[in-house]
């Protein structure tokens, strides 16, 4: 089995400025998938950066000639961390192509599945992926357990707050550290000068890291009730959901199962509001300087999601659709036109017919891999040419960022009352102004704010679902277009969703009842994209500019910003070849 240990190479070769060095982080860990960052660090700051996805997978070629009703079963398996999202985008794409409207129960069940995904995913990201950039785990052994209890009581009513409790966590951690093998905590940048939490803060965070693992395992049972299992919920169907509802039948989703989910939601509301959100504010209070780094592009895009009506009118989405440009929050978001999305391959390892300087809309997408990079082993990519397996999505030929920050800003600029209120509360708690939102700190805070708001919506959707069931409205799918004989000869559609990591779109072309083209433009494709034809940086690349780096051999600060995007590379890298070419096979041994 290959063990990935991050390789940091730093080398002054090939860089014009003395006092600069080019560093490489490959693989970047505590993300999903395979990412490489190259950056020039000059006088202790990043002055340029390149983001490269180092793996390709072949999702859409597998879909060619398959039944569009099945596509979601394949696409969902793009990623099990971001489970559900490629399923909903796929069924929506086919429903859009075939003109199908799902019944209200399906709308509610889908909203609940997506909301549960956000809440679990964001909590896991904060503790299990991002936290070790800010929390010095071994330093927790220096904490005073009584003072840690006092700290806990000062930030939240969460009941695990006794001296004995924290002493117990500390003893458990000490056992691990004393064993000489740090296990899941190995290879962290422990003792890095940029780590600022006091030992009690570190111990509190470690305790919650462990608690969050247990909490999320229980919470995600909501997916099992509504979707059979998680990862890879299996109750979607083109036309709605397969999960039957009934007021009394024990095998259907009934009031007893709704009560079980309500209990899990209540516990999640408590956990998010008493553990995750207060921890986020506590950690942020020690890192307020990170309001000044990691902002990047300042342009944000959201498809919006959580339909409030079965016609999918974006005006009734709970999270709105639109764009914010140049950090402008005082004017309403601009309307989104999906026709203005294009993907470039100028700096990506693909070829386009007609040349690599022009972008293509996903409905006319092509994916012909063309690896022109160096043969391994190598020190640096040739970033003047093609350097990533990610394509380069652009909106109106501009680079934009997607994700929780984008969603919160689009909602904020549009006057969304709940978002404005929670954002204002968070900014006040930290003693910073709205400019702080455009930063690594802002991006991280937006994820927590969004989690509080999303978990707060779930009870309402459960109530609506129960009311439908008790009212005898039991339809869960529109089956009038289930049979392919009912379809037109050709059809094409767009499926959209806001995955936890950002705006996700699937485009499908159907002919003769089969898929003839399928393209996925995924949040991390937007965020992690290389330069486009005009040399404009993608969101990761832009956000890294100006980041301080205290030690080029331990580029913790670069990790903090990249992790704030919550990358999922498996989702981002995918391709389809419509011409049945034989492609290079890459075997990844595990």
């Amino acid at each position: 089995m290959e063990i990935y240990i991050p390789v940091i190479t730093s080398n002054g070769n090939g860089v014009a400025n003395p006092g600069s060095q080019r560093i490489v982080i490959d693989p970047l860990t505590r993300i999903e998938g395979h990412l490489r960052i190259e950056a020039i660090v000059s006088n202790g700051k990043v002055i340029d950066a390149w983001s490269s996805s180092t793996m390709f997978r072949g999702m859409e070629m597998i879909l060619k000639n398959r039944d569009p009703r099945e596509a979601w079963l394949f696409t969902q398996r793009a990623c099990g961390v971001c489970t559900t999202v490629h399923a909903i985008a796929s069924v929506r794409a086919v429903e859009n192509a075939l003109g199908i409207t799902v019944p209200d129960n399906a709308r509610l069940i889908r909203n609940l599945i997506e909301a549960a995904q956000y809440v679990q995913d964001h909590v896991i990201h904060f503790y299990h992926l991002h936290a070790m950039d800010w929390v010095d785990v071994p330093n927790a052994l220096k904490a005073d357990a009584a003072q840690t209890g006092a700290l806990q009581r000062s930030i939240s009513p969460w009941p695990n707050n006794s001296t004995a409790y924290f002493a117990g966590v500390q003893a458990r951690l000490k056992g691990l550290v004393d064993s000489g093998q740090l296990g899941i905590f190995a290879n962290g940048y422990w003792g890095h000068p940029a780590m600022k939490l006091p030992p009690e803060g570190n111990l509190l965070a470690v305790a919650h890291y462990l608690e969050a693992l247990d909490w999320q395992r229980e919470f995600i049972k909501i997916h099992a009730v509504l979707g059979g299992k998680s990862p890879h919920v299996q109750s979607y169907v083109v036309g709605g959901v397969s999960a039957a509802v009934d007021p009394t039948n024990p095998t259907a989703i009934n009031p007893t199962k709704i009560a079980m989910m309500r209990d899990l939601v209540n516990k999640a509301v408590t956990f998010v509001n008493q553990v995750y959100y207060p921890d986020l504010l506590l950690v942020a209070s020690f890192y307020k300087d990170w309001a000044g780094w990691g902002g990047g592009l300042g342009n944000f895009l959201a498809y919006g999601d959580f339909p409030g009506s079965i016609d999918n009118n974006p005006a009734n989405f709970w999270l709105p659709r639109g764009l914010v440009w140049n950090q402008q929050l005082s004017t309403p978001p601009t309307a989104l036109n999906p026709a203005l999305i294009s993907e470039y391959v100028t700096h990506s390892w693909y070829s386009y017919t007609g040349g690599d300087q022009a972008g293509k809309h996903p409905s006319q997408g092509e994916t012909v891999p063309n690896y022109t990079g160096p043969a391994a082993p190598f020190n640096f990519l040739n970033t003047d040419a093609k350097y990533s397996w990610l394509k380069t999505p652009r909106y109106q030929d501009q680079a934009v960022e997607v994700g929780p920050l984008a969603r919160m800003l689009v909602a904020y600029a549009g006057g969304h009352a709940a978002v404005k209120s929670k954002v204002a509360e968070a900014l006040a708690a930290l003693g910073v102004g709205p400019a702080a939102l455009f930063s690594t700190l802002g991006r991280t805070a937006a994820r927590g704010i969004e989690t509080v708001l999303v978990v707060g919506k779930m009870a309402g959707w459960l109530n609506e679902l129960e009311a439908n069931i008790l009212g005898g409205r039991l339809a869960v799918a529109d089956t009038t277009r289930w049979n392919p004989a009912s379809w037109p000869a050709t059809a094409s559609g767009w499926g959209w969703t806001e995955a936890p990591r950002g705006a996700l779109g699937h485009w499908v072309n159907i002919s003769g009842g089969k898929i003839v083209n399928y393209q996925m433009v995924v949040p991390t494709t937007w965020n992690g994209s290389p330069r486009d034809a005009q040399g404009q940086r993608g969101a990761f690349e832009s956000a890294l500019i100006g980041t301080p780096v205290a030690d080029a051999n331990k580029p913790l600060e670069i990790l903090r910003t990249i992790h704030s995007f919550d990358p999922c590379m498996a989702c981002a890298v995918h391709l389809m070849d419509t011409h049945e070419r034989t492609l290079t096979e890459i075997h990844i041994e595990a």
């Binding site: 099945e70 979707g227 299992k229 299996q234 109750s235 709605g240 397969s242 509802v245 095998t251």
Partner: protein, 69 residues
């Protein structure tokens, strides 16, 4: 059951006519289930797709066509 969410679905009836691959799949999910014994796809009225089968995308698809193997 014959159609998503019909009366048979509400009573948890067999999914063979919807394309279920269960009989062709060697797995214990009917017994152990998923997420700590909470549920399984048949429990939400969706046919099994034989996902534990090696190369199931090729070996178990198509997923919505009932057949005897």
């Amino acid at each position: 059951m014959e159609s998503w969410g019909d009366a048979g679905a509400r009573s948890g009836y067999c999914l063979m006519h919807m394309g279920c691959r269960g009989p062709a799949t060697k797995s214990n999910c009917w017994d152990v289930k998923w997420n700590g014994g909470t549920n399984w796809p048949i429990g939400v009225g969706h046919p099994c797709i034989g996902c534990v089968t090696s190369h199931f995308w090729d070996k178990q698809a198509p997923f919505y066509i009932a057949r005897d193997d």
